[in-house]
Amino acid sequence: MLRFFRRPVGSAQRAQGSTVFWILSVTASGLLLMGWLLPWFVEPTASGIGTSPQDVLLNPAGFADFLIYVIAATMLILVLSPLVEIAARIRKRQLPQIADRARLIAAVAGLALTVAVWLLVRYILGPRDSTLGPIDSHTVTDSAVWLTMYGYGVAALVYGARTWVLSRPNVAFGLVVLPFGALLPLMFHQAPDFLLWAAASLAVYTLLGLGLNIVVGFAGLLDLGYAAFFAIGAYACASFASPNHHIHLPLWVLIFIGAAVASVFGGILGAPTLRLRGDYLAIVTLGFGEIIPDLATNNVLGLTGGPSGISGIDQPSIGPINFGTNPQWFYWSLLILSIIVVLLLRNTEHSRLGRAWVAIREDEVAAAATGINTTSTKLLAFAMGASVSGLAGAFYGSIVTIVTPEDFSFSVSVAVLSIIVLGGIGNITGVILGSFVLTLVIFWILPHMNEWSMTVSAPDHPISFLPGLGTVNFTQYTYMVYGVALILMMLLRPGGLLPSRARRVELEKGIESESLAAVQGRA
């Protein structure tokens, strides 16, 4: 049993493993916290676990409330345990092993208890027991319990299978991300629609991040106009599936059209910029990324509908299932598409082409000298990155049913860049993590903060301690979130949360100005 908890030896393994371990711990506690706090984010309308915690706290009575206390206690243990671990790590860079076992027991017990309570509430007590109130009608409770359960599950995986997690960091992370991704619509199966849209936009941003990762991460070409290809895909979709030109093609054809058109534009942009390197390339792509929405705004050739864009894009459907009325189907198809893209990219990364990209990224002259055709390789990077973006754009168009030029401003490019910087430039798993974290913050936490602050600052609310809170519009902080994410990641962890190994060496050691470092005595 003790052997099971022992930390593995081998420094490289530990270095990357512990990162994943940290991410998983934080994920677990984040999910737990979200599940726990979700009720607070919603207007308190009735008593019960979900909707109004302060009612439960004020009038403790009965068996159900006792259960709630037990759950809250185990939750607290699990939420605090990563913090304890952080403290322990800071203090002696070593873990007390007894705490591991305690946490494992707490995780398993908490998971079991939550499942039990959820079943109890949902199927046995819920509809009949008056002490718990009209819980069944409050889907928030369901979502909260789902999130909590999932958090416990992750915590159990982390603490129970520590050695295994440390030795297979990416697989472990995938095991967390994939089920979470698959469960997302289930968690919110009756929840407000905007959560489903948020889940769908998460998938779109994941695709965008994966595409930009080809250009920036693999080939090392900083593209600041990535939203342009997204726009091209979306407008291609809008043109071929709307009353605008009286063409109605199904989405399954459109995604290929979007990808093809975007990749052609990727090649067009790539061709004149092949001579440029580094920051000049970034500026040219930025200019391109500004020109495309401008063209759309000015309704070039009468194709784009001007500033109001193209509306009335068809909602795709499979047989009787209409995606428009069932938004989770968007999510499912995007999830499948993302998995396919991830598999393709993973294979490409390790193919001859992927190695050529890395060679160009590290040293273009040397790469050319070894016989790599830098022109076609860079063009392929641009075209492939653009095609993934066009794919995402076609989906985006049919999700939102209206595309306007403002949807593709520079902030979208920066959002995608933040995703890959946050997650880890050049690492596919990291990009997925980055899109999860960022969309969670932008589409889930910030809007909920708005609701929460409005609820809390209502004058009759028991905890209205900050009267001005209700007027704060938290969604306005989106820009600052991007900015802070970019700055902090570059300063503190330039490789991202899950750095790719080659990239980390390059970014942290630094490859330039060795003479200066020597002069300053730092080499």
Binding site: L222, D279, G287, E290, Q476, L491, A517
Partner: protein
């Protein structure tokens, strides 16, 4: 036998004893051929021509568009008055671009970083100027008389430029200094982050709409009238202040010890360090001056247009950066001239093809410069930058 494409070293060894079969050395492309292959020399020749005569082509285009506005091609109404007014507007706008472009070019010259946050420092200084004017009651002072106006201008320029300069120094200290020796992608991404942080801050603090400032009516009146084109005191003041600030900067860089330190740091940082120059201080001063000039641009912008908006700096920044690239990045005089040229292109091009296209036009110019002449009009050819 050996093709001219293979290097001279290989050629010599092949001549010496034919160690390698010449057939193996022949470039692969020879075998394919075709239309594309024949077109390549033509394309390359056109490319070389365009890059060699880039300045002439650009100036020709500007002169042609002045003529176009005069004759009333495109959407312009035509005539002397319109042309004169457009040139006046172009000079005013160009003065603002030039002041911002100088900040870009100085920072790029010294640490080879595209300081994305510079455009937002410009916007932020506009808000600084508004706050300072509000605190000190400068609006009533400025409209009270000529003496009050001069005093108010002096105070607002001094305080805003100092505040903006300190902001720039703080940004450099917090966000860029640690990454000075990191690969170039890292500080560039940080700069984008700083830009978004500043924009987000201004959005939260000052709201999403156009924010009216009160200094639009500080300077009024018409200075003189040239053939029906009325030139306001404001216009003369704006262009004059911009030129004054830029000449002051030029003198500073050329004459003072600190300016010499800046030039040597830009040339070779390691060597400058060996000569005993305090690099950190020099770079801080560069950021201070660049941001202070952006503040000057912001004040004249708000005096001219009377409002400011949180997202203004982004596009202004790119346009000013285009000006800096056009003048040859790292070249202060070039940035000034580039700013005025870009102002011309913006206004005249806009009046020829329609104002909604003028920004696209500038971005197109940016892409063209970087494609055909990355060193700009007055830059030195440094291969690593292209």
């Amino acid at each position: 036998m050996v093709s001219e494409a293979s290097g001279s070293g290989v050629g010599r060894s092949a001549e010496a004893g034919l160690l390698v079969s010449p057939a193996g050395l022949a470039p692969r492309e020879r075998e394919t051929g075709g239309l594309i292959r024949q077109a390549i020399p033509v394309v390359r020749g056109l490319y070389l021509l365009a890059s060699r005569y880039f300045a002439a082509i650009l100036l020709g285009a500007i002169l042609l568009s002045i003529l176009g506005v005069y004759l009333g091609w495109g959407k312009a109404a035509g005539g002397t008055t319109l042309m004169g007014e457009q040139i006046r507007n172009a000079l005013v706008l160009g003065a603002i671009y030039a002041l911002i472009a100088v900040g870009y070019t100085m920072v790029y010259g010294i640490i080879e970083l595209i300081n994305f946050a510079h455009g937002d420092v410009f916007t932020l200084s506009g808000f600084y100027a508004f706050i300072i004017a509000g605190w000190l009651g400068l609006d009533s002072m400025a409209t009270s008389g000529i003496g009050g106006l001069l005093l108010a201008l002096l105070i607002i320029f001094a305080l805003t430029m100092a505040a903006a300069g300190l902001t720039g120094m703080a940004i450099e200290r917090v966000a860029y200094r640690r990454l000075r020796d990191a690969p170039r992608l890292a500080p560039l991404i940080t700069a984008i982050g700083v830009s978004f942080l500043l924009e987000g801050f201004m959005l939260v603090k000052f709201g999403p709409d156009n924010f009216p400032t009160h200094n639009a009516n500080w300077i009024t009146g018409q200075a003189f009238n040239v053939g029906g084109v009325s030139i306001g005191t404001k216009d003369i003041f704006i262009v004059g202040i911009a030129l004054l600030l830029m000449f002051a900067l030029g003198a500073f860089v050329r004459v003072t010890r600190l300016g010499k330190a800046m030039r040597s740091t830009a040339q070779d940082r390691a060597a400058a360090l060996l000569c005993g120059i305090n690099i950190n201080r020099t770079i801080s001063v560069t950021f201070f001056i660049g941001s202070a000039l952006a503040a000057g641009a912001a004040i004249i912008y708000s005096i001219n247009y009377g409002s400011i908006q949180w997202s203004l700096g982004f596009r202004f920044g790119i346009i000013a950066f285009t000006a800096a690239v056009l003048g040859g990045i790292g070249n202060i005089v070039g940035a000034g001239i580039g700013g005025f040229l870009i102002g011309m292109i913006y206004v005249l091009g806009g009046s020829l093809v329609g104002g909604e296209w003028s920004e696209s036009l500038i971005f197109a110019v940016l892409v063209l410069i970087l494609t055909f002449k990355p060193v700009g009009l007055f830059g030195i050819d440094v291969t690593t930058r292209a």
